[in-house]
């Protein structure tokens, strides 16, 4: 275990740095109630207080502590990112693997559905879903699941098509294994590497989409501590209270940067063509 860890740090220094950032993000998200000096929706302090000893990141337009909101924002971002990606990518992967293996009408039909869902620019699809669903944190997750499922289905389908053509699947068919058995025992385990890559690379994407939705006023309700929503409020008061933009912006950039670094190195590790290559 220790040796494996050391190998990872030496072989993927950027990935290791990303892992550290992600670890910090997770700790902050989990320990938010203990770490934040105030509640995320607690008002009543003076408005637009510049960063000081009492409020290290200042206060916002209704007198809330920005530091506390940034800390709680980590929890919200990670919650939305992880839950939506787990559901969306898993659903899409199952869908893509099963229809890809079955082929024929099931495959062609499902690919047309994917076409339609991917016919709208992603943010625009998410925006119209949010308009229809109503603004809440959980509806953001629903919108993200609908956004992520088709992409995952398409990616995993192409992987599944490749796996289906391999001799061991043919051998399983010749041995008389049932369809269900082939799909769950042979096909899906061989798609796992791509699945893991999809999950790790999409979490940062989901976090950015959540923040973008909140930013355009279509995501989490304004009082929720969403980094994107905090930025919108900050832009309104850019000249008087620039800290309202800097700190949530910095938090989201750092989180996305860490997740991207980690995701990149996981992809390199799972793709044998890139392992130790020239890239």
């Amino acid at each position: 275990m220790r040796a494996a860890l050391a190998r990872f740090v030496i072989g993927q220094p950027l990935g290791a740095a990303g892992a550290v950032v992600v670890l910090v993000l997770i700790v902050v998200a989990l320990a938010a109630p203990a770490l934040a000096p105030h509640g995320p929706k607690e008002t009543g302090f003076a408005t637009y207080v510049a960063p000081s000893r009492e409020f290290p990141m200042g206060t916002d337009q209704v007198g809330r502590d920005v530091l506390s909101r940034v800390i709680w924002g980590a929890r919200l971002s990670l919650y939305v990112g992880v839950v939506s990606v787990l559901f969306g990518v898993t659903l899409g992967a199952l869908w893509g693997a099963v229809t890809g293996y079955l082929g024929g009408a099931a495959d062609a039909g499902s690919q047309r559905v994917v076409d339609i869902l991917m016919a709208l620019p992603p943010i625009i699809l998410a925006l119209s879903l949010m308009a229809a669903l109503g603004q809440s944190v959980n509806n953001v997750i629903v919108a993200l699941v609908i956004l992520l499922t088709p992409t995952a289905a398409r990616t995993i389908r192409s992987v599944a098509l490749g796996v289906s053509a391999t001799p061991f699947i043919e051998a399983a068919q010749a041995a008389g294994a049932s369809r269900t058995r082939i799909i769950f025992r042979h096909l899906i385990p061989n798609c796992m590497a791509s699945y893991i890559v999809l999950v790790t690379t999409n979490i940062s994407y989901a976090i950015v989409v959540e923040a973008s939705l909140s930013f355009i006023g279509a995501g989490a309700p304004p009082d929720e501590p969403s980094w994107g929503g905090m930025l919108t409020a900050g832009i309104q008061a850019l000249e008087t209270a620039p800290w309202m933009v800097f700190f949530p912006g910095l938090a989201i950039s750092l989180a996305v940067f860490g997740l991207n670094l980690l995701g990149d190195s996981i992809r390199d590790l799972t793709d044998p063509r890139l392992r130790g290559g020239l890239g």
């Binding site: 047309r112 559905v113 076409d115 339609i116 869902l117 016919a119 709208l120 620019p121 992603p122 943010i123 625009i124 925006l127 119209s128 879903l129 308009a131 229809a132 669903l133 109503g134 950015v208 923040a211 973008s212 930013f215 355009i216 006023g217 279509a218 994107g228 930025l231 900050g234 832009i235 850019l238 000249e239 620039p242 933009v245 912006g249 989201i252 950039s253 996305v256 940067f257 991207n260 670094l261 020239l278 890239g279």
Partner: protein, 320 residues
Amino acid sequence: MSTYVLRRLLLFVPTLVGASVLIFVLMRLVPGDIAEILVYQTGSESSTVQKRQIQQIRRELGLDRPVVIQYLDWIGGAVRGDFGQSYVQRRPVVDILKERFPRSMELAALTLLLAVVWAVPLGVVSAVRQNGPLDYLARLVSLSGLSLPLFFTGALILYGLVRIFRWLPPLEFASFTEDPVENLKQLIWPALAQAYYISAPITRLTRSQMLEVIRQDYVRTARAKGLAERAVVYRHALRNSLLPVVTFIGWWGGRLLGGLVIMEIIFVVPGMGSALIQAVSQRDYPTVQAMIFVMSLVFLLVNLAVDLLYAWLDPRIRYA
């Protein structure tokens, strides 16, 4: 080639129809319809009067008919370029589109131009000087571009403009035909912010493609026959590595439409995106539907063009 093109073209229409149904259904799911909003806004009458008014408005707008009929009516009009009347602005939605669409397209074109002019050379330099200081710098710049969310870059640029240049959002939009200088002054910043964001993946892709091509036998042959390094890089390596880059840029061109929404809000550009957000908050369905429909149409057309371009450029796809 012809079967591929034909298949790709045949898929276009059902996808567009499917997308239009999706858009229409989503807009019908929005809680609280326009009739209620219009009535309750004025609302001083008793509730029975209000109910009758709601009924009347629904009938006038055709909202009391079956959804299927409403859809057919809408799509039939849309095909002929008639998207109905805006509930809020009380003028044809087509007029709003005619006003807003060119602005957003101009912003998108400017963004792509800036991104390509900056990202492709950076990717080439990065590959040619692999693992040198320039390469590290280029990779760091592009990785940071990928990690800074669009709205944060935009906000930072806006802050710089406001603080250093005392920039104020323009009160009136100047079109390129009227006043090109003022027009570019208004659009250059949102274009730069988004170009920085999308140049990151373009740089990375150009770099990795160049690295792959530079190791090919024909590049070695070019060197062996004594060609100047410039000619090797530009004539032999770059040309062959640009194929995926070109299609990738096209693919991003389509996705730009979503990002433009954010840019238009930050920099107060009166384009499609800001109109869409406004219409959503006002529950102005005809406008929202038309905007999203036109955006998906452009998105699908760009994707189609990219696929066809790819097939045309790469014979391996054509005959696959």
